[in-house]
Structures are given as structure tokens and as C-alpha cells.
């Protein structure tokens, strides 16, 4: 089955969860990213139980912030 991950078609042997996709991309700090599946946000608490279907689109982005002091 194929899932489009951040715009790239990616093959999986079996239906992956969001957590599986992030692990496959070596995202160790899963709290550091925001995830959308087919344009809908998935909370971090749902990464394991949210299983993807063939043709789904998953996008993830790192939290972005910082500061100028120190």
C-alpha cells in the first residue's frame, strides 16, 4: 500500500499507524512534530491508534519557534 508522506509516495507492507510512519522517518521526538492526515490534525495521543489507509496523505512538520535572547 502507498501513503503519501510529506508529498512523497511511500510504500508500506501493511497499514501503518501515524506512529509507524514517524518511526520510519526516524522522528524520535514525536512531540516535536505536528501531524495532519488528509488535511486533518491528529493529536500526539492518537498517533498509535490512527491507522492509515491506502492512498492517505500524511504530512508532518516540526514545531518552529525560538527567541533572540541568550
Amino acid at each position: 500500500m502507498k501513503i503519501t508522506v510529506n508529498g512523497v509516495a511511500t510504500a508500506f507492507d501493511a497499514a501503518p499507524s501515524v506512529a509507524d510512519v514517524l518511526s520510519a522517518d526516524n522522528i524520535a521526538l514525536k512531540g516535536a512534530v505536528s501531524v495532519q492526515v488528509n488535511g486533518e490534525f491528529v493529536d500526539e495521543g492518537g498517533y498509535t491508534e490512527t491507522v492509515l489507509n491506502d492512498g492517505d496523505e500524511l504530512d508532518y512538520l516540526f514545531f518552529l519557534g525560538g527567541g533572540s535572547r541568550r
Binding site: L61, F63, G65, G67, S68
Partner: protein, 133 residues
């Protein structure tokens, strides 16, 4: 090396000045090895000392870039009163090894702009400004 158009460089600096006293931030898009697309973003912190992006806006701009054939290549933000260097907070929070992090310093009358990467530790990245003829 980060290759960036003169127009994008000027727009980053103009955005940084427009948003004073707060920090400004935005996305940079690359096509064919050249950063030629800029998208000013909302600083959710609206602060002179901090910035953060809104995830919903991040995803929306990412999809716009994709539709236009651009790759998300970097993020810029301004330091209104401090040098163009990665602060401790920047180092702690900017963790995507795939991106270039560009900092626009307005500490002095003439803006200073530097780029950094974080994969394998923070490193200053060579930046080449390309004029448009």
C-alpha cells in the same frame, strides 16, 4: 550552501523591519537549487524576544509551496536587538535537520543576515545571494 535571490533577501529584511519591535518569521521556498520564494508568517508569540509559527498556517503554506513546485527549504526569523546567531532557545527549539535557519539581525543600522543548519550540531551555512537580471 544556501543560494538565495536578492529579492528574497531584501523582503526578509523588510519584513523584519515592518514587524518591529516584534520578531518576524517566515518560510523560504526553493526550486532548482535557488531560494526564490518567501512567505511571511504570523509570529504567534507577537514578542520582541520570541517567535513561534502556527501549525495550521505551516501546513497551509507547505501545500501552497508544493502546488507551486517549491520545496520548503528554510525558515527565517529576526533578532531585533541581538546578533545574527543561534540563541540558546533557537538551538533548543529549531531541530529539523532538513531546513536552513536564517536569522536577520537588526541590532545595527545595517541588517546582518546569516544562515545555519542543525544536523550534527549547529553550523553556519554559506549563503550566496543571486541577483536577478
Amino acid at each position: 550552501m544556501l543560494r538565495i535571490t536578492e529579492a528574497v533577501l531584501h523582503e526578509m529584511i523588510a519584513h523584519a523591519r515592518r514587524d518591529l519591535p516584534d520578531e518576524a518569521c517566515g518560510y523560504l521556498g526553493e526550486k532548482n537549487g535557488l531560494v526564490s520564494r518567501i512567505h511571511p508568517m504570523t509570529n504567534a508569540d507577537a514578542s520582541p524576544e520570541h517567535f513561534s509559527l502556527l501549525p495550521a498556517e505551516q501546513f497551509a503554506v507547505l501545500r501552497t509551496f508544493r502546488a507551486e513546485g517549491f520545496r520548503l527549504a528554510g525558515v527565517y526569523h529576526s533578532h531585533p536587538e541581538t546578533p545574527a546567531r543561534m540563541s540558546d532557545e533557537d538551538i533548543r527549539l529549531l531541530v529539523d535537520p532538513a531546513l536552513s535557519y536564517v536569522i536577520v539581525s537588526l541590532e545595527k543600522p545595517e541588517a546582518a543576515v546569516k544562515a545555519f543548519t542543525v544536523g550534527g550540531g549547529v553550523k553556519e551555512q554559506d549563503m550566496v545571494v543571486v541577483g536577478e537580471n
